[in-house]
Symmetry: C2
């Protein structure tokens, strides 16, 4: 097989899908980060839509994360999609649903004010309720005991909330035991852990704080409060 380069961005959830699959399949690859705020020409030459991820297979670029996942499925064992075509289609449909959830997360952290933030949280909550309705009781993964490609799509979805939940309680998780269990299960999978580096939570927090949006302003507030606690004595009201 030609050497593989995963053209990446440290925070991109679509990159994580590919990184998780590569780890699950035990394929060595080089990760090459790009600055999406200042895209270099070599990147634009291999990414017609200017987006990450791109998988360079030798010098051939494969772009769009769902396409990279299918390419890895087509070429590297073990197969992570189910064998049955209709069941595989169901997994792929819910992968696309995962992309819609990522779009809803983008809308959440871009919400200009508190009212919009609550509205976007409501949209997202609705998506999680839809997931709750299709997950099996007691199954660790989307489709039972076996980790599959669709799990690699939702792990980066849930990872956002390891940070967002520390900023604000948006009421996203209560009454959704199957989604919560799935989230916990995915968070401890080694391939999922390895798909971002240790600086990810800090980078994501910085990214959110840098946005002129309701969640970013709350993140600044919560950061100020934490800094206050760590550099000053605690007042009774902090306890």
């Amino acid at each position: 097989m030609s050497p593989l380069v995963l053209v990446s961005h440290a925070l991109c959830p679509y990159v994580q899908r590919a990184a998780i699959l590569l780890a699950e399949k035990g394929v060595p690859f080089e990760r090459r980060d790009v600055d999406l705020a200042n895209k270099p020409q070599w990147f634009l030459d291999v990414s017609p839509l200017g987006k990450t991820p791109v998988l360079l297979v030798g010098d051939v670029p494969v772009f769009e994360s769902a396409v990279i996942c299918e390419y890895l499925e087509d070429t590297v064992l073990p197969r992570l999609h189910p064998e049955d075509p209709l069941r595989r289609a169901r997994h792929r449909s819910w992968m696309e649903f995962g992309s819609a959830v990522l779009a809803a997360i983008g809308a959440l952290y871009s919400a200009a004010d508190e009212a919009a933030l609550r509205a976007r949280a409501g949209d997202l909550r609705g998506r999680f309720e839809q997931l709750e309705a299709v997950l099996e009781e007691g199954a660790p993964y989307f489709d039972g005991d076996r980790f599959s490609v669709v799990d690699a799509v939702f792990a980066p979805v849930f990872r956002y909330f390891d940070v967002i939940d520390t900023i604000v309680d948006l009421g996203l998780w209560h009454g959704l035991p199957k989604v919560r269990a799935w989230r916990r299960q995915l968070a401890r999978r080694p391939s999922v852990v390895a798909a971002v580096d240790a600086a990810y939570p800090r980078r994501l927090l910085d990214f959110l704080r840098g946005r002129d949006a309701a969640l970013g302003r709350r993140a600044q507030g919560s950061a100020a409060a934490r800094m206050n606690r760590s550099t000053s004595r605690c007042a009774a009201g902090d306890m």
Copy 2:
């Protein structure tokens, strides 16, 4: 095989992809249109994202057009994707590019004023220039003589302009001979012709006119002019 129902909307370009593939593969199916402005509950029950197309395989819903295409590839001959996995990945990447072009068309017909319309036309022109750079000289289809799945994605892209080009010349096509030849070739493919009904151009024109946007206002103007010509004698300035 279970009976197939393609849940559709008369103007949806993503539905057309599936309809074209079904025709190319000679699979009988029932087309069932839904009113996307007033979605019935049975539709929401099979379409978690509330979008068309959905392919009902017996009573199992397969949603999202790219997933439907792959399901048809997995289950019905002839295969329209290339055999080689890397070449197949390239086709799938450009299918995703086709979805980005459809988003650019949506931005075009939603542009509020003439300045925005020109800007969006410039974006779209840029996408067509990217296509021109990857198409082969003299090849009837995306990948030579053989019609493939990616062709089914671009046929509905080009079909928009059978109507839009009658409203306004946005300068999208000049200097792009390979794109123009591909457009012509796709327009006469029987599966492409059959993917919409005879009322499509009129419906699309009505849809565009109904929008509070620059292209819609131009469409109203051009319609008024045509009506004037057909109900009155022609003045010299019309010739």
